[in-house]
């Protein structure tokens, strides 16, 4: 009984120290705020995802065409739009590097995208 209580107290102390550790290690930090994404950063993240998605799709299309899973006809029909999507995402990311907010990329039809799934 006594041993159990001692062990339980020890466990509680260890857990309290673990929980308090961030405050013990940094009693007076320079900044205690979490980095939160602003609207521009969120937009940029979306563009990066679109870029990666388009590039991965291109890579997969190339491989599927090479294996014969995708026919020449489908390959030709899909290659252009995928390249355009990748180029749009890359272009939209470019101005941001110069310090201006990124553009909203356009769909193949030239209209901004939308619609809920």
């Amino acid at each position: 009984m006594t041993l159990a209580l001692v062990l339980a107290a020890l466990l509680a102390v260890v857990c309290v120290v673990a929980v308090a550790f961030p405050f013990i290690r940094e009693p007076e930090p320079e900044s205690d705020s979490l980095h939160d994404l602003n609207d521009d950063e969120r937009r940029r993240l979306e563009l990066l995802e679109e870029r990666d998605r388009a590039l991965a799709a291109l890579k997969e299309l190339e491989f599927d065409h090479r294996t014969g899973t995708i026919s020449d006809e489908d390959y030709r029909a899909l290659l252009g739009p995928l390249r355009r999507d990748a180029a749009n995402a890359l272009r939209a990311l470019e101005p941001d590097r110069a310090g201006t907010p990124p553009d909203k990329p356009e769909t193949r039809e030239g209209r901004p995208t939308g619609g809920r799934t």
């Binding site: 705020s33 979490l34 491989f63 799934t117």
Partner: protein
């Protein structure tokens, strides 16, 4: 030591409450140290739960019957391995097991994703903590595994059917599956709470979902084999409510694993994916509720308890909160793209999702129907095997076919010419297989014949995909065939691991179709020296023996088995009489033909005092393919689960490109 267990669980509850409150405050107010403190609380909760688990395990191993739980679930004579398995065999222990896996998974998921999804984790921690609060509350207040009593001389023992080696693994995998689904749920809810609905929550949880899904699949197969060899009714799946309880979240998770690809590749189905994760998690909770509440009669429900209302309230709260958050974030979840053609890979995956969900909801309706009918009409009406089999054929056969079609169609749209070229060989092989099987007499079961034909189609597409992929990699300079094959697997583990998993499902479907649509059964009451026949087999009842084991008396009838003129040796079937538990169990005799995958399955239904035995004998063609499918499933899951360092680097790179700071 019960005090230590109780105290450890109290500490867990305190830590979980702290992680919930401090985590939510830190996320809302943007406080970094408080967020880290909440994460540490989650890790510490994992440690204190581990201590509590250790105390219970020690009590079980030492047969300390002053623990009510130990006295209720074990006995002195119970073999050591089953004393250990009693940890998750009873209600209180299994809830503690849930909590231990939950806190460990939560702490691990937080740690593994800190490098690139820290802002998301801040919101996922309170969600993990909320689930942990619920389970720790249950084991502290409602169903404590550390309740004590004056120690009786011996315990009540364990239900005989649980005294089986499968019980050492089957529940562990099921619980890993159930609890593992908390990770995608926590991150999905975290993304809704934070408004970070980009694809990071998907990437953070994809492997966890795959892990939970694989664990659920393995757990169900182990459970099926346990039912086959131990329960002794001649089958492996009976659409029992508790079996269904594990199948439903697996189906929802299967749908998610497919639809997540559509979001990754095309940015579509964002709302749908969150709904699927929510559904899978709610069904995992519902599964635990079904198993533990004893609300439905089931061969697997070993407990009757009062925790049901708590579970129902928690499920209702979870669903209500999740749907409210989802509704609030709908504008942010708009998809940037639309379905371009009904003949495309995303469309095929969508059809697959609809069929999986239809099957899942049909099963759910079958499970809750007895409860609803009792509430409305005062009489519990159970939907039997015919109901489930019907819908399995209606939804399952098209699903089987889609497994072959989906992966081979182009994203966005596919032309008719392309389809004809791609599916020329698989269709030809399927048709030839169908005709050959029809000639061989497989037409006695039309669904079985269709399943075989579709299986041939899918297997051909998989083989062709591997062959074409390997050839392409060779052309790209991968060297030998083996090198090219290895390179193919490692460069796209998800895709080719997925094909291996598809192959396992095909093998499983063939095994199920063979053993259920083309099986045969014979029954006879035999005295020593009598014989009976089934198919080509002849069985001669030779002798009846009784022997005493450590915890049971084993009664075994020995049968001589021959097939035509060939002597196949002997087979034993009988019963075990468990002394402490005062229960009987069927101990079946199985002779497997490894070449054909067929089983001769013998049940000694009734053993009379004069030595007469009533035998029921089955011949189950191809049934062993079901268990072989399990190994293929594990292999495919491992390939798909294997960490992808390139992807991790890409995610970290992406995070650094938008200036997300590294984790401290």
């Amino acid at each position: 030591m019960a005090e230590l267990g109780r105290a450890a669980l109290l500490v867990t509850l305190g830590l979980a409450v702290y992680a919930l409150v401090a985590g939510a405050a830190a996320a809302y107010l943007g406080r970094r140290r408080l967020a880290l403190s909440a994460q540490n609380a989650l890790t510490a909760a994992s440690f204190s739960t581990l201590v509590a688990s250790g105390v219970l395990l020690a009590a079980l191993v030492r047969s300390d019957f002053s623990f009510s739980y130990v006295a209720r679930t074990t006995s002195e004579a119970l073999p050591l391995q089953y004393k250990i398995s009693a940890f998750w065999g009873g209600q209180e222990g299994s809830l503690l097991f849930w909590l231990a896996i939950l806190t460990a998974c939560g702490a691990l998921a937080v740690r593994l994703n800190r490098a690139w999804a820290r802002d998301l984790i801040v919101w996922a921690v309170p969600v993990f903590a909320a689930v942990a609060v619920f389970f720790s509350f249950l084991v502290v207040v409602v169903a404590s595994p550390f309740a004590t009593q004056a120690a009786p001389l011996d315990g009540a023992g364990m239900t005989p059917s649980l005294q089986n080696p499968y019980m050492l693994a089957h529940p562990i995998f099921l619980y890993l599956g159930y609890v593992g689904l908390t990770v995608p749920f926590a991150f999905a809810l975290g993304s809704l709470l934070s408004g970070r609905v980009d694809e990071r929550w998907l990437v953070a949880t994809r492997r966890w979902t795959l892990f939970a899904w694989a664990a659920l699949g393995i757990g169900q197969l182990l459970g099926s084999h346990w039912a086959y060899v131990e329960v002794g009714w001649g089958g492996y799946f009976a659409w029992d409510p508790v079996e269904n309880a594990a199948l439903m979240p697996w189906l929802a998770a299967t749908a998610f694993l497919h639809s997540v690809m559509i979001q990754e590749k095309r940015g579509m189905l964002r709302v749908w994916n969150i709904l699927l994760v929510l559904l899978a998690f709610a069904l995992a909770l519902f599964g635990t509720f079904l198993t533990r509440s004893g609300i439905l009669n089931s061969i697997h429900s070993f407990t009757q308890s009062s925790i049901g209302p708590w579970f129902l309230a928690f499920i209702a709260l979870t669903v209500a909160v999740s749907l409210t958050l989802l509704f609030r974030r709908l504008p942010q979840l708009r998809s940037p793209t639309r379905l371009e053609s009904p003949v495309s890979r995303e469309a095929a995956f969508l059809y697959n999702n609809l069929l999986l969900l239809a099957l899942c909801l049909t099963i759910l309706w079958g499970v809750v129907y007895p409860i609803l009918s009792e509430a409305v009409r005062g009489e519990a009406v159970v939907l039997g095997r015919a109901y489930y089999d019907f819908f399995l054929r209606i939804f399952g056969l098209p699903l089987l076919l889609l497994m072959g079609i989906g992966p081979l169609i182009a994203w966005r749209r596919a032309s008719l010419q392309s389809l004809l070229t791609t599916f020329r060989w698989p269709t030809l092989v399927a048709l030839v297989s169908g005709v050959v099987l029809l000639t061989l007499g497989a037409g006695s079961s039309i669904p079985g014949l269709i399943a075989y034909t579709f299986a041939a189609f899918v297997l051909t597409t998989i083989v062709l995909e591997f062959a074409r992929g390997t050839r392409a990699r060779m052309a790209l300079g991968a060297g030998s065939w083996s090198g090219a094959f290895f390179s193919l697997l490692t460069r796209n583990r998800r895709r080719y691991g997925g094909y291996v998993v598809h192959a396992s499902i095909v093998i499983l479907a063939v095994g199920i179709a063979g053993s259920s649509a083309f099986d045969s059964v014979a029954e006879a009451r035999l005295t020593r020296g009598d014989s009976m026949s089934i198919g080509d087999y002849t069985l001669v009842y030779q002798s009846l023996d009784e022997r005493v084991a450590s915890n049971a008396t084993e009664i075994r009838a020995t049968l001589g088995v021959s097939r035509g003129d060939r002597d196949l040796g002997t087979l034993e079937a009988g019963k075990n009489a468990y002394t402490v538990e005062a229960q009987l169990s069927n101990e079946v005799g199985i002779r497997s033909d490894l070449l054909t995958g067929e089983d001769l399955f013998v049940i000694a239904e009734q053993v009379d005092p004069d030595g007469t035995v009533y035998f029921r004998v089955f011949v189950k063609p191809l049934v062993n393919l079901i268990w072989i499918a399990g190994f293929v499933f594990v292999l495919g899951s491992l390939i798909a689960l294997w960490p992808n360092a390139r992807e991790q680097r890409r995610l970290i790179q992406r995070s650094s490109e938008i200036g997300l700071p590294a984790t401290r």
